[in-house]
Symmetry: D2
Subunit: 166 residues, 4 copies
């Protein structure tokens, strides 16, 4: 598993209430993307040639992030299509979720300036990332036994199924 | 009708591709909120006492905004609940939609630090804003006659109904 | 004379005190550079080929800029060397100076990646900009008569002389 | 000695050339101030009561900072006056100086909204910070012997003298 992206909060991220401004969260998720893609695709990936463009972004604000916090952003692959894929983010402070996010990205041919099928190497890296998540959930399930955990596990399996069938 | 918020693109908004960075769009929508709320609630509104906090933000990127553009952001009230409401944004360049957005905001008692019912004056201003939109759609319908326009109008009326019933 | 650059203050520019954050001023000066250079060099200037890089920046903070302000930044050419030149900025709100700045810029060959002599067209545009300033000072002097104004005028002429001799 | 502030470069810090934008450097220096003042004054310092405001900022750009870099900012106390003091910054990447900076700050009574004498505890912390720097220079001198080092040491002592006499 790739370790979460550790984010350094800046004084200039704060708004008049002393909370991290709402638009800064998207730059935190962007930092998570840079961090995870470096691991998934290596530092040699030619981003000028085969890049991705954002089609959609979502942020859910649960608790305000402060200057004294050390947020960590975990990124998960949620859906892999033919030309686009969906990433999901969880921003945690001391293990507690403070914000959630989701991005839809489209594979893009940087030289021709048009959208394209997700390059094979990127697609397999995303599947690897998705599988690693499923494995960690199964691991968690194996060491657990409550009815709630049963339910959550079946819910998770179903949602993965939907991703693959989709 | 309140005129759209005119946005000044900054050189520092651009990313390495020369496009406005994805997280900057949320600050454009924020500027639209400041612009519209000044009109809707007046400049005397005590934001320290009765404020709003963001629960959710969404952005859809249709075309990249460039330094040479003069974007305008229109804001619409989409849904009014008891404690929260939903705003919708359209960012246009020369009349063409380049990005769309949506925010869920929660009324917040700034002194007690808890969520609250939407203050009456704010609620009636939001309803006024919603009605102005409906009126402009009816006006547009009265000067039109195609089957598509009939369909769009009925669709719009139904979606407004859902907002009120909800 | 080129009219000053009009700056749109953003909510996200503010720090926890409700003042425009100190580092944002440099982006305001940057916007003034973009505004003035568009006038001085035209929109056809090939910035990829003949560009400028910042060697130094200075800001003096006199009064805090607020969200309700409409700041204007005037830019003056202060010194023209062989490879570098110096610009000076005045940020005003309602005619009162709120901040001052100064930048040293170096002409840069974007293709070869090395510093270069200031291109002739850029140099003559900068001299034109400098002369326009001197003319406006002379105009101001002709319509004035106090001892202080005499002194200020001679001071200004001497400082221009230093620029040319230097 | 306080360890330098480690800065996390963000994708959004980059301009169209892929370099950290010129105005971002001031936010890096700001992060260094927050880092050093936390060490110098403790986390209990009441910044609402006894704060500092920026009177001046300077940045010298020597080499462009890139996304792949891990910059570190060292902060030094350069001058301590009665109401104001001067800080100096060095931004290094792999031990090489990429940028330098300087700030003049004024002690400010946050409650009365006026400038004030530097509070005694802050002043003594700044002197402590200044002395630590002098000691490290003397240490460096004791383990060195070239003529250049002699010269640099005497130059440094003289500049410290000027600070104290001033």
């Amino acid at each position: 598993m790739i370790s979460p992206a550790r984010i350094q909060v800046r004084f200039t991220d704060l708004d008049v209430l002393g909370h991290v401004n709402n638009n800064i969260y998207l730059s935190y998720f962007e930092m998570a993307r840079v961090h995870y893609f470096k691991e998934l695709l290596g530092i040699d990936w030619d981003w000028k040639k085969h890049t991705v463009v954002l089609a959609k972004n979502e942020v859910e604000y649960l608790q305000p992030v402060l200057l004294s916090h050390d947020p960590e952003v975990s990124m998960y692959t949620e859906h892999i299509g033919s030309k686009s894929f969906t990433l999901r983010y969880e921003l945690k402070v001391n293990g507690i979720i403070f914000a959630k996010g989701r991005s839809v990205l489209v594979a893009f041919d940087g030289e021709k300036g048009v959208s394209m099928e997700i390059p094979l190497k990127m697609k397999s890296a995303l599947f690897h990332h998705l599988r690693a998540r499923i494995k960690s959930v199964i691991l968690w399930y194996n060491t657990s036994s409550s009815a709630l955990q049963h339910f959550l596990f079946i819910y998770y399996l179903l949602s993965c199924l939907i991703i693959k069938v989709h």
